[in-house]
């Protein structure tokens, strides 16, 4: 009954009969739930780690499991198991069904296999099939390039992590969809030391790609050198200034600001609950006309991309803010149903132990008109923020993010390197202060992970050079 259009044989991969899934969906609806869904996952994860000039260890991990959810009105019941025997699956379905109590049983529709979305994966040499030796060679190359960059480099850590995730989703509406998602990242940390002062630098590469990705500009040598360069440069950096000043965000890495300051608050669950400051701002102007923001899960090879989301929806490029006006939200099935909106394909979960929630994929500010050099020239005294270590936002719109390195801007020129600053603000305020947007859209390091409600998912974000007219900068 499993058709040929799915990317892999579900029954074989998960070692179960598809009839067990249908029985589970029926059991899940037996107490009166109005929707049931089974999420099957098998994941292989491998890594290799080098430090102290030694390839320290390798690791291999397999996980297999099933998550079952049931809706009864706005209530979700969820159960999971890593024992896929028909008996255990039925028990899990019954425990998820306990939230429903109307007693009116709905029959589950017949499962119909549905082809996936666009092919967003770019893999010639699959990391999960490659010999460990090939991956260890990449780690070693990054390590040695970092080590050899400068005598000031005191310690290096390099690692590669790859995974292949097989997912299948069956629901009581009859949907049956599947996806096989590759993911790899190579990262390097360098610590530079001079006269007792230590600084660290970081770089990395990867995405939904194969090992051939590391043959191009994202070579392990380039990754190692970049981590070393950042650490060495920081030794000469002075503390960032503190106070309110114009801030220019470098293209690429500063996408994390858009992710934190805007993206999270456009996730539908926060708006449905009216906890996001955007909940009543659909169609309203919240920012300058310079600001257009998208989330696009279909960017080929990008770390945040997927062919179907974790509810089986084919994702689409979603317009969030257009010329400063709120145009859309990131939807999962539950929020879309309760809000009466269409799906956007942003229902994601960390693994089978979690139910899906609306998440970002690849979030970015669209390119603008300004030459990046012109943007810097427009600032008399301010901060140019280049590299970031992360950020955080709360629903009230207050956010913060950490700048690891940057430059001072004095009289329209980049001058002294500075380190360790924190930018704080509220998103209502910052969107109104984005004065200039550059023509140089770029994405940040493809190694990022976003956490929400204890669930981690791979994401990417990007932006062109941006000028914010005034922002609170906290130095050291």
């Amino acid at each position: 009954m499993i058709g040929p259009s799915l990317p892999f044989d579900i029954e074989r991969r998960f070692g179960l009969d598809a009839r067990a899934l249908v029985s589970a969906l029926e059991a899940a609806l037996a107490t009166g739930g109005d929707f049931a869904e089974a999420f099957l996952e098998y994941r292989e994860y491998r890594s290799a780690f080098m430090e102290e000039d030694i390839l320290k260890d390798t690791s291999e991990s397999f996980s297999l499991g099933l998550g079952l959810r049931v809706w009864s009105g706005e209530t979700t019941g969820y159960g999971y198991t890593n024992d896929l025997s028909p008996d255990k699956i039925l028990r899990t379905a019954r425990s998820a069904a306990a939230v429903a109590a109307s007693g009116r049983a709905f029959p589950a529709a017949r499962l119909v296999p549905r082809p996936g979305g666009a092919d967003v994966y770019r893999v010639e040499r699959p990391p999960d099939k490659a010999p460990f030796e090939a991956k260890i060679a990449l780690v070693r190359a990054a390590y040695e390039a970092c080590r050899g960059f400068s005598p000031l480099i005191e310690k290096v850590k390099a690692s590669i992590q790859d995974q292949i995730q097989y997912v299948a989703i069956a629901n009581s509406e009859g949907l049956l969809a599947a996806d096989v998602r590759p993911l790899v990242r190579l990262t390097c940390v360098g610590i530079a030391q001079r006269n007792g002062l230590r600084e660290s630098g970081y770089s990395g590469g990867g995405g939904r790609v194969g090992l051939e990705h590391f043959e191009g500009s994202a070579s392990p040598e380039a990754i190692g050198r970049e981590a070393a360069r950042e650490a060495v440069d920081l030794l000469d950096a002075r503390d960032a200034p503190a106070g309110v000043m114009p801030v220019v965000l470098a293209a690429g890495h500063a996408g994390v600001l858009i992710h934190e300051a805007v993206g999270h608050l456009l996730e539908a669950d926060f708006n449905r609950r009216k906890t996001s400051i955007f909940w009543n701002k659909a169609g309203k102007k919240v920012g300058t006309p310079e600001v257009t923001i998208y989330d696009d899960p279909t960017i080929p090879a990008s770390r945040g991309s997927y062919a179907i989301d974790d509810e089986g929806t084919i994702p689409r490029k979603t317009l969030l803010i257009e010329k400063g006006v709120v145009r859309g939200l990131l939807q999962d099935k539950l929020s879309a149903k309760l809000m009466g909106r269409t799906l956007t394909g942003h229902g994601r979960r960390q693994d089978y132990t979690d139910y899906p929630i609306p998440r970002m994929a690849n979030t970015y500010i669209d390119r603008g008109e300004h030459d990046p050099a012109e943007i810097i020239r427009s600032v008399r005294k301010g901060l140019y923020a280049e590299r970031f270590t992360g950020g955080q936002v709360e629903d009230s719109g207050q956010f913060t993010f950490s700048v690891s390195s940057g430059r001072l801007i004095e009289e329209g020129r980049l001058t002294a390197p500075v380190k360790q600053a924190t930018l704080v603000g509220s998103n209502v305020d910052i969107l109104r202060k984005i004065e200039m947007v550059g023509s140089d859209l770029a994405f940040g390091l493809p190694t990022g992970t976003c956490s929400k409600e204890g669930q981690d998912v791979p994401v990417n974000d990007g932006c062109p050079t941006l000028k914010i007219s005034a922002m609170t900068v906290g130095g050291k």
Binding site: T389, S402, V424
Partner: protein, 448 residues
């Protein structure tokens, strides 16, 4: 749900896998089996939003052959899968380079009786789902009854029963069960464009030790509404008073800086400071895995090293780094029972309370920031530098005058440790890392 595997079953399986690994050629092998039962319910606006009930098991394996290490883990515990995984790990060990420090822990003659630690509450196993749901509903109901509260992030109750079994080719075999439960609520106040939010929760080993719905709701309300109508302040250097949750967050950063792993990796500013005076008199920090009924307590760590009490800082002097076996061999320092995964984790890591009533600490300030919450990631263990978004209450002449927002605080952990002027008497063991109110002589607060 099916009856979960019992601890003795898991231990027998772990021991069998150790023997199997040795027969495959591993010089040393360590097998841990974890078995968890999870219950959690989130309620919002008086309705159940999510209810999770589930169980899962998993195995983690470390193999050493010719001083070469490989790790493996699996959630498929069928004998075939596990044997394949171990054979693979033994083969994979050859890919690593020999590391003279790679070795499992030495078997300790000390055995700690898990029962003496009081970390399993049988009441949690027996607690009906209805009771747990009612507690979450009750907590949110009390909070929403306050007219100043305008929205709810929801309330939640969760409980967890975790069983751990560990066997190792050095002869160690041990197992224990531990319970956790938690109850909390998140709230918002103010109108859409001037929202403030905060949450409060209680986590304990024993159900009867949890704070009541009333107490949790009241604290959450108070902590939320006190942030309403914040003002901005100008950039300045002032004393900063840390509330206990903020002291805990600072201690979390300190933990990362006294971790033996960070020390041998040279990624902590304290790497060369052992035996030196790095903090004020009276500053004593302890890591203790033996405290009955505490969240961070357990009879042995992830390598089978028995729990102990370690004085990390004594009267400001750095006495010990917290080491797993690898860091201990690398640094030539004692193991401290902090092995956690491949690294080092806290047991109960806390700052000993001082003589001062927290109210008296506030009264001692002419002008200061009472730090209530931070946001962001601006902690750099390599330098000790701290730079974070912050929320707080402004203090003038010993009294709170108004909330402040959109500020950052900046400082350096090394400087802070030297500048802790007062330590409060209000230590409460709310989590694995905790501390009392402290007053730091001066930090940079950046605002307008």
């Amino acid at each position: 749900m099916a009856a979960p595997a019992s601890v003795p079953d898991d231990l027998a399986l772990a021991e069998r896998l150790v023997r199997f690994g040795r027969s495959c050629g591993a010089d040393e092998i360590e097998v841990g089996i974890g078995d968890g039962e999870e219950f959690s319910v989130d309620v919002r606006m008086g309705q159940i939003e999510n209810l999770i009930e589930a169980g899962s098991r998993g195995a983690g394996i470390r193999v050493i052959k010719d001083q070469r290490t490989a790790y493996a883990s699996s959630s498929d515990l069928s004998p075939e899968a596990l044997e394949r995984l171990i054979r693979g790990a033994v083969r994979r060990a050859e890919l690593s380079q020999p590391d003279p420090f790679a070795s499992l822990a030495d078997l300790s003659p000390v055995r700690i009786d898990a029962a003496s630690l009081d970390i399993f509450d049988p009441e949690i196993e027996a607690l009906p789902a209805e009771t747990k749901i009612k507690l979450a509903l009750e907590t949110e109901r009390i909070a929403l009854a306050d007219r100043r509260i305008t929205n709810s992030h929801g309330a939640g109750f969760s409980s967890h029963i975790a069983r751990t079994a560990l066997a190792s080719s050095n002869g160690f075999a041990g197992a224990y069960a531990k319970t956790f439960c938690g109850l909390g609520v998140g709230l918002q106040a103010g109108d859409t464009d001037h929202l403030v939010e905060e949450d409060w929760h209680s986590s304990r080993i024993f159900f009867r030790d949890l704070e009541s719905p009333e107490a949790i709701a009241r604290t959450a309300i108070e902590r939320t509404v006190r942030q309403l109508h914040p003002r901005r302040i100008g950039t300045r250097r002032v004393p900063v008073v840390f509330e206990p949750p903020m002291t805990a967050s600072l201690l979390g950063f300190l933990f990362g800086c006294v971790s033996g792993t960070a020390v041998y990796q040279r990624s902590t500013f304290l790497a060369d400071q052992l035996g030196r005076k790095i903090g004020r008199d009276g500053l004593t920090v302890i890591d203790d895995g033996l405290m009955p009924r505490r969240i961070g307590t357990g009879p042995f760590d992830a390598e089978g090293i028995p729990a102990q009490r370690t004085v990390v800082l004594e009267n400001g002097v750095l006495k010990r780094f917290l080491c797993n076996t690898y860091a201990s061999r690398k640094l030539g320092l004692p193991v401290t029972g902090n092995a956690d995964g491949g690294g080092v984790g806290p047991n109960n890591f806390y700052l000993e309370p001082g003589p001062h009533d927290p109210a008296a600490i506030l009264r001692s300030c002419d002008q200061a920031l009472l730090l209530t919450r931070t946001l962001g990631h601006g902690l750099n263990p390599v330098t000790g530098d701290i730079s974070r978004g912050a929320f707080g209450l402004w203090i003038e002449k010993g009294a709170i005058v108004h909330p402040v927002s959109e500020i950052t605080i900046a400082g350096n952990l090394g400087e802070i440790l030297r500048n802790i002027e007062m330590i409060g008497s209000d230590l409460e063991f709310r989590g694995a890392i905790c501390g009392p109110t402290i007053k730091v002589a001066e930090m940079l607060v950046a605002g307008n």
